[in-house]
């Protein structure tokens, strides 16, 4: 039985670079839509040819800003993927969209292209905050986009950034309540992180952006989970909340450490090839990636087999982000190492005692307290 596959497609262009964002996104005066749509299609075909027919569990259009793509291009890629692979029934097809008026105008086209889940990059419901986050949309546009999306798509999600400079607990609670009233079945709620190489990092260094301290950040996080739960959305991953059943299946594939193929500039993959798990990556810069694809059919720059230890560490660092945790049997099968051999038994004992991790039957899971400290927990726990 071939490994099921999740497919990620990267559209690297944005209207503007947001000051907090360190994703692989680029701004061009004129986006060479046709060239890149064609290159993505070629790379998809190239990838499918070597992977063979596999069950396809999800497609995710990410970016950049994939809602800047022509709906026809999206439709063509979906059509191609579902032909080259074997889609599971009711396959999840997500597209990330920004709620500017231009992109909102295309939502119907994306739905017609086959997209059945949209993830809106709303980020804030406060005009001033949106401006400071460098977003191109207003709060009004965001709500309009959401309203329209709700009528078009069976599943919607949106992103918010909190723990913003100067944002107090009360303000965030109000904003979150307002957001949850907009009836989505899924939310990604990210604490603002200063990423290296971003404009925010420079501002942070100059002392112009103040982030909440560790204790305040922890309080904001806990309050977020409480408010979301009151609206029926449960934190199933560190920054993701969903009504039971509405979790992002595509992202779950990452966290459950399943096979996924990434096409487009800078996209990463984890692929079982000849019975061994490989890490793949593609050229990050859009034009050189496209040139490679045009020359060789693929923009891939590396394909590295992963050792058991590497697989174990990756599966732990992803799997413990999930409330459901890691099934020991699946861990052993996927990594070749028993779960008990991949972690420090002494630390595990203490972590259980401290209430950071727990066994749920066969599954080792980080508790909400443990997830709040996951980076430190991993550093101590993982061998």
């Amino acid at each position: 039985m071939p490994e099921p596959l999740a497919l990620y497609i990267h559209w690297p262009f944005c209207l503007a670079k947001c000051p907090y964002c360190d994703f692989n996104s680029h701004v061009r005066d004129v986006v060479p839509e046709a060239r890149f749509a064609h290159a993505l299609s070629r790379e998809l075909a190239h990838e499918a040819a070597r992977l063979g027919r596999r069950p396809l569990t999800s497609i995710f259009f990410g970016g950049g800003t994939p809602s800047l793509m022509a709906p026809d291009s999206v439709a063509a890629l979906i059509e191609q993927a579902t032909t080259l692979f074997d889609p599971v029934p009711d396959m999840e097809i997500t597209l990330e969209a920004n709620p500017t008026s231009v992109e909102t105008g295309r939502l119907r086209g994306f739905r017609e292209a086959g997209v059945n889940r949209v993830s809106l990059g709303i980020q804030a419901l406060d005009g001033e905050a949106l401006h400071r986050l460098g977003r191109e949309h207003t709060a009004g546009e965001a709500i309009a986009a959401l309203e329209l999306a709700r009528t078009l798509f069976p599943r919607i999600s949106f992103d918010l950034i909190y723990a913003r400079p100067g944002q107090a607990m009360a303000e965030w609670r109000a904003e979150l309540d307002a957001a949850l009233a907009l009836v989505a079945d899924h939310l990604s709620l990210y604490q603002l992180t200063i990423e290296p190489g971003t404009r925010y990092e420079a501002l942070h260094r100059q002392g112009l952006i103040a982030l909440p301290d560790e204790d305040d950040a922890a309080a904001l996080y806990c309050e977020t989970a409480t408010v979301a739960a009151r609206h029926g959305l449960l934190g199933y991953e560190i920054s993701n909340y969903a009504r039971p059943g509405a979790e992002s299946r595509h992202n779950l594939a990452y966290w459950r450490y399943q096979d996924y193929a990434g096409i487009g500039p800078g996209a990463h993959g984890r692929l079982t090839l000849d019975g061994r798990l490989h890490a793949t990556r593609r050229h990050r810069a859009p034009e050189p990636w496209a040139e490679r694809v045009e020359r060789m059919g693929s923009g891939q720059t590396s394909e590295t087999p992963l050792e058991p230890g590497e697989r174990a560490r990756e599966m732990l660092l992803m799997g413990l982000r999930l409330a459901e945790g890691i099934p020991a049997a699946r861990f052993a099968a996927r990594t070749g190492i028993a779960l008990a051999d991949a972690i420090d038994g002494d630390v595990l004992g203490d972590a259980i005692e401290a209430g950071y991790v727990a066994w749920h039957g066969d599954c080792l899971a980080a508790t909400s307290e443990g997830r709040l400290r996951l980076d430190a927990l991993l550093a101590a726990l993982v061998l």
Partner: protein
């Protein structure tokens, strides 16, 4: 061949406080006597080690031979002996002084006499030196020559009427100094035909020539190719080279009585050349050694550990190289559960410790952790045996100890009277006993007896801070006394951290224990689990602090593209952890060790 008559030789040293202008004056004297061309004159010729130059202190004795045509028409040989200028090197200073007949006492005319100067000038008086007071920086508007003259007379107790007023910086009245050397200092005495007696003043290691020995010939002649004998241990060597410093090395055939110069005798390490030893002729030895020889004994010890365990071998080699040139410093292997493999090192004093540490860092590029300095205690066991202890980790159980003695010092502190109050409070807090308190004008001189143990704990820093840097300090060892001393252990999550344990007087134990726990609480970052920090005497906890668990540490976004980066980060953390000092589950960062070990009590 040196056949200068004794009557035309003058041997002198310069005594001065840091920054009072010793090196500048030395440069001027050399320049005036034409020892160096303009081009060769770098500032402060004599201090040739970087550290010496930066800190304005001299570590090794050095000498330069000057030729001065005096106003009386004769040309004199003036041997300037530059001495180590710090209490840690008191013995070395005494040997340098023993090589001379007189001293210039250089005092900054705007600052007055400082404590350190005082100790050295007393040593010079003990060495029967003729002392010529020199008031430097006379050109400064703040110069108060009359007051400083009075201070010299009252504090030092020597006449200062004919003190020479100069400015070494501008060159004012340098001739006055040279004339005073010729007219006021006695010439050396000695018998060229007597068996050889030469004082070993200092020695250092030269990468090309091996060990160079600085000598002062008292009697007889020290000749090239002769076979010499060290009178302390009977070791013999053949002299390969004899010469003087002008200031460059200038070989001669021999050195006669009264002369100061160098020899080179294919000696491999300075450990074979004991300062203060008498060198004699192997075939015609002197019947008696020169007086005053003492073996050097470390007073302060500390552990030195490489931050990177892989540097242990490099540390060993570096210590060996330093010892080639400094026999007064000792080292022996030490293993610490907390800090791994390192060395327990003994020094002549705190400055000596600091210098060695700094040289290891700077010249050998080593990152080191130094444990808290410890003095040498004498332990009397209940079974009647006695032992010396300089590592708190080795302290026997209290039930086995009959009594402990600790070393005391006699400290001299000079300070403007407005800061005297806090200085006295500091001394009293450190178990000091006042011996004397006198005033000269607005400056007070306090003499205290203090346990050395209290001084190695940041006393200098505290003194500097309570006197805003105006106090000067000097000390001499002053015997041992029985004392109620205890070892305080520091425990992190119930595990003792050996490198943090220390010995203190029982009366100070709780305060220090609380202080170190409090500091560690601030220095150790919050971690995954909560951390208990305790200070204990034996099984009794005297202070405790708790560091709560960190409250949040998690990456907000982690998707398919982030895995490789996150895994590499995790790998790196793992790698870093191996180098961290782990105590159970607690990581103590190097910075915490460094700061905790340095801290005030």
């Amino acid at each position: 061949m040196t056949d200068t008559p004794l009557s035309l030789i003058r041997n002198f040293s310069i005594i001065a406080h840091i920054d009072h202008g010793k090196s500048t004056l030395a440069d001027r004297l050399i320049q005036t006597c034409g020892g160096l061309t303009e081009r060769e004159m770098t500032n402060q010729v004599l201090d040739n080690m970087d550290i010496e130059r930066e800190r304005g202190i001299t570590i090794k004795a050095q000498t330069v031979r000057l030729s001065y045509p005096a106003k009386d028409g004769k040309t004199y040989v003036l041997n300037l002996m530059d001495t180590p200028g710090h209490v840690d090197f008191a013995y070395e200073v005494s040997r340098s002084l023993a090589a001379c007949e007189g001293s210039l006492l250089v005092v900054d005319a705007s600052q007055g006499v400082e404590a350190q100067t005082l100790a050295n000038v007393y040593q010079a008086i003990d060495a029967h030196h003729e002392i010529v007071p020199v008031l430097n920086k006379i050109d400064l508007p703040a110069a108060e020559p009359e007051q400083v003259r009075q201070q010299i007379e009252e504090v030092v107790g020597i006449p200062a009427d004919d003190a020479i007023e100069i400015s070494a910086k501008t060159g004012l009245n340098i001739i006055g100094v040279l004339e005073a050397l010729v007219t006021r200092l006695p010439p050396p005495v000695g018998d060229a035909d007597a068996p050889l007696q030469a004082l070993l003043v200092d020695s250092w290691y030269d990468a090309y020539l091996g060990v160079i020995i600085l000598v002062r010939v008292k009697n007889g002649r020290l000749k090239r190719h002769s076979k010499i004998r060290m009178m302390s241990n009977g070791a013999t060597h053949t002299v390969e080279q004899v010469g003087v410093f002008s200031p460059a090395m200038r070989p001669l055939d021999d050195l006669g009585p009264g002369e100061i110069g160098y020899i080179n005798a294919a000696i491999k390490t300075v450990a074979d050349c004991n300062i203060g030893d008498t060198i004699t002729d192997d075939r015609r030895p002197a019947s008696q050694a020169l007086p005053g020889f003492k073996a050097s004994i470390p007073v302060v010890w500390c552990g030195l550990f490489p931050i990177d365990a892989d540097d242990f071998e490099k540390l060993r080699e570096s210590l060996g190289k330093l010892r080639l040139n400094d026999a007064s410093f000792h080292f022996e292997a030490e293993t610490s559960a907390a800090l791994g493999f390192g060395y327990r090192c003994g020094f002549l004093g705190l400055l000596h410790l600091e210098i060695i540490q700094e040289r290891l860092t700077r010249e050998f590029n080593l990152d080191l952790i130094a444990t808290a300095p410890s003095v040498v205690y004498r332990i009397h066991r209940t079974n009647g045996t006695e032992e010396e202890l300089h590592n708190p980790a080795d302290m026997p159980d209290g039930s086995l100890i009959e009594s402990i003695e600790e070393p005391w010092i006699r400290a001299t502190i000079m300070v403007p009277d407005e800061y005297l109050g806090p200085v006295l409070t500091l001394c009293n807090d450190r178990r000091g006993r006042q011996v004397d308190l006198t005033y000269v004008g607005t400056r007070a001189m306090a003499v205290y007896r203090l346990p050395l143990n209290e001084v190695v704990f940041d006393f200098y820093d505290r003194l500097k801070s309570v006197s805003r840097g105006y106090a000067s300090f000097d000390y001499a060892m002053d015997g041992y006394e029985e004392s109620d001393l205890v070892r305080i252990s520091i425990l992190v999550n119930l595990e003792p951290v050996d490198a943090l344990s220390f010995i203190a007087h029982r009366s100070a134990a709780e305060t220090r224990g609380r202080s170190i726990c409090g500091k560690l609480k601030d220095l150790i970052p919050r971690q995954l689990f909560k951390i208990a920090i305790q200070a204990a005497i034996g099984g009794r906890v005297i202070a405790r602090e708790t560091i709560g668990a960190l409250s949040k540490d998690v990456t907000a976004k982690c998707y398919g593209g982030d895995i490789s980066r996150k895994r590499k980060l995790l790998d790196k953390q793992k790698e870093g952890k191996k180098r961290m000092r782990q105590f159970g589950k607690v990581e103590i960062p190097q910075t915490a060790f460094l700061a905790a070990l340095k801290m005030d009590a």
